[in-house]
Amino acid sequence: MMRKFFAQRRKKKTSPFSQHMQQRQTPELTLSPNLADNLELFRTLLGNPHDLLIRTFLIGNTNHTCAVIALDGLADSDMLHNQVLGHIQLMISTSEKSVPPEPDEIIQLLFEEVLSVVEIKKETSLTAALDCILSGDTALFVDGSSELILIDSKGWKTRGIEEPVSEGLVRGPRDGFTESIRDNTVRIRRRVKDPNLRFESSWVGTRSKTELIIAYIDDIVDHEMLDEVRRRIATIDIDEVEESGFIEQWIEDDFLSPFPQAHNTERPDKVSASLFQGRVAILLDGTPMVLILPVTIGLLLHSPEDYYERWIVGTLTRLLRYLAAFFAVFSPSLYIALVTFHPGLIPSDLAFSIAATRDGVPFPAFIESLMMITTMELLQEAGLRLPKPIGQTVGIVGGLVIGDAAVSAGIVSPVMVIVVALTAISSFAIPSFQLAIAFRMIRFFAMFGAAIFGIYGVILSLIAIMIHLSNLTSIGYPYLAPLAPQMPRDWKDLILRAPVTFLKERPQALHPEDEIRMRTGDSK
């Protein structure tokens, strides 16, 4: 009953999406039967570029002029030689049939018999042909016919598959996504041999025409969510899209939030695991960063390794990470609060030694922390942008300046250095870089709270952050699920990572259509 209802809605919802995609096409230009005119038109449309390859030739004894057009570098020239030009010329010499006199018949012959290419189609629209040529296809004209053949000859150089730079693991697959969307879909297909895996292709960017693929597993994903994703992607109206970050920012729920509402990853194993959980992945051509939607706080704090290691290791690592999240946000503000407002809360021996080390430091704890945390942010940013050989210099300079020199110059206290180090290390322990950035932002918020109201300000800022997170959604899904709203069934994969044999259901928070992961367990 429910399924039928959804299936009907699914049909209804998909149609406006495809209509919308069609509406974005530019006005149609049709082919003329005259080859020279067509070639001229292509040249003028593209501004007579030097990388446009045009090869005209005659077919056999019929005196019909033919031409192939492709863009140098985008099209695979080996393939053009062997499978296209070579075959056409061979046909003329070996075929027992004579070449038919009519150009349309020649096209038909070429299309059906001669060209040994898998992906091939006939086209009458010049605009569509132009788009295809710009994405690496080859067009084959025959003089006198108002049709052309488009041959898929995409074959540009791509980067090899490398280990993901931004998400390292000790244990786990080493392959990462690349800039080529085709390679990326392959990486997912290699892992998900489920016939229900769907790749829904469209393009975004009115000028850049970047290919975008929505990936999901049809009988797991919540179709309401999928429709919402489609609807939001259809609203994207921008001329160029370089990176999936553009998509993320177009479709996010709350643009004022410091928290990421789409997760990006370059790990195919993470994407396939998310698809099996009932999430949606968005792949974009030209970037190795794949978006995963919807985001729940768990997705950002978990690492694929939690599942690859044994459950005790996974659980303890997660506990450590939640602790790191707390330290990353609140350790400087707690330092400020304790030193400035509530020295009584610290054990007296420690309070004395802190006071002794702070003796001679000219600034209040708040200014001291602000300086140190800002310096750390600077170091982190500088380290990111620098070429690798110079990167080490930053480490040395930073380590010396922040650590030793600042203390001996009497600008900061040694305890402050420890606090900064703890904060930095904790924020590096967060698996998602985007979440770590969010934490870096709200850290300042908490520091201001602590500077004004001490520990009371810290708890107020914690409450404010929780209010924000509780209100936050990702594609309409509560960000804090399964904590709030409470879904106790999901808790075995939240802070605790239960043994894999216990993880029988998919996360309830994502409303998967197929909730059960392990059916064999039931029959036992």
Binding site: L345, A484, P485
Partner: protein, 368 residues
């Protein structure tokens, strides 16, 4: 949004129970052992806690029944159905006044306690104002998100109180709890009244049942919601009396916080645990406060549908703040608290029970 997502916008039975527990556990729990120790002698206070808990449960059950009769209808709506529009306007306005005063009380309580345990020079006015701003922020968001905060904060608070209790177990002296069963009936009832004030809050079921997925589960939610505070109060009372003895407890302003003061964490990582304890406790007072303000707004918008939520928040906050600043000292403040609760007893206990009787007699029922 889908049927599933829509159902997530409603609250379940357990969630309602946690809401009730969150709203009940607030400032009252910090002070009630004092009033109870004053009224009864030592151990017998427990009987008072249980008696008033049962009375609260009975009233709560009746209120839940009333609200469940009219699913998806606001308090104002069903009062209007039962007892005509003018009565509904008058009663709802009085309820708004009550809940608003309660917000004032809670924010002032935060100010007072924070001043006593956390600050030396920061004025109460600023402490209270900052808290009110956070409360506004919470109420300004979506209602269901606000209620979900209870799910996040209540467990934290319960864990903290559990730790405090664990660490004070060694200080417990059975001698302090004696004598048993020495109080007269009169003093027991007196004690019950004193604790009863700390149970106020469960009447939120009148207003939030309309958000429940199955409104008929309201009474069960009430049972769960009151079970947490009753067991908490019983345990805390035993500990306060056991650690301090009734004589000392009488003279402590906030006996529960002072209980935390006795905690010594092995390893000496923290001193003055009571400050930490109260800091965490702010979470639950915050929950109480937010729900009261939200109910005020909910009732006002149910009467005046054209005025936006934000307008009410901004219009009411100065009044709430002003009222909160009126009591000059602790004596004034607690008198103010008692006055509100007595007022509330008539408005949110007596009147709704009358409404329920009328509804049963007239056979009025809401429809889904």
């Amino acid at each position: 949004m889908s049927a599933q997502t829509l159902s997530e916008k409603m609250i379940s039975k357990n969630h309602m129970g946690i809401n009730i527990a969150s709203v009940t556990v607030g400032v009252g729990i910090l002070t009630f052992p004092r009033a109870l120790a004053k009224a009864t002698s030592g151990f017998d206070g427990l009987i008072s806690v249980v008696i008033s808990g049962l009375v609260a449960l009975l009233i709560g059950w009746l209120l839940a029944k009333l609200a469940a009769r009219f699913p998806r209808q606001t308090f104002f709506d069903y009062t209007a159905i039962i007892a005509s529009k003018p009565v509904a306007y008058a009663l709802t306005l009085l309820v708004c006044l009550y809940t608003m005063l309660f917000v004032s009380f809670e924010i002032r309580a935060i100010g007072n306690i924070a001043k006593q345990y956390l600050f030396y020079s920061t004025p109460v006015e600023m402490i209270t104002l900052s808290f009110l701003l956070i409360v506004q922020y919470a109420v300004a968001g979506s209602r269901i998100a606000m209620l979900r905060l209870n799910l996040l904060f209540l467990p934290v608070v319960l864990v903290v109180i559990f730790f405090v209790l664990v660490f004070t177990t060694q200080l417990l002296e059975i001698e302090n709890i004696r004598p048993y069963f020495s109080s007269s009936w009169k003093s027991l009832l007196e004690g019950s009244k004193a604790v009863g004030l700390s149970y106020s809050g469960f009447e939120i079921i009148l207003f939030y049942t309309m958000l429940m997925r199955n409104p008929e589960e309201g009474p069960k939610a009430m049972l769960l919601g009151l079970f947490i505070p009753v067991s908490l109060y019983v345990t805390i009372y035993i500990f306060v009396i056991g650690v301090f003895s009734a004589e000392v407890a009488k003279n402590l302003t906030y006996p529960t916080i002072d209980l935390a003061k006795e905690v010594e964490i092995p390893g000496g990582f923290f001193e003055r645990v009571e400050s930490m304890f109260f800091t965490i406790w702010i979470m639950t007072i915050f929950n109480t406060c937010v729900m009261w303000l939200d109910i005020t707004i909910l009732n006002l918008t149910s009467m005046f549908r054209k005025v936006k939520k934000m307008v009410w928040i901004l219009a009411l906050s100065p009044i709430i703040y002003f009222v909160a600043m009126l009591p000059q000292n602790l004596v004034d403040f607690f008198a103010f608290a008692d006055a509100i609760t007595y007022f509330g007893m008539i408005i949110v206990y007596l009147c709704p029970i009358c409404l329920l009787l009328i509804a049963i007699m007239r056979g009025v029922k809401g429809h889904e």
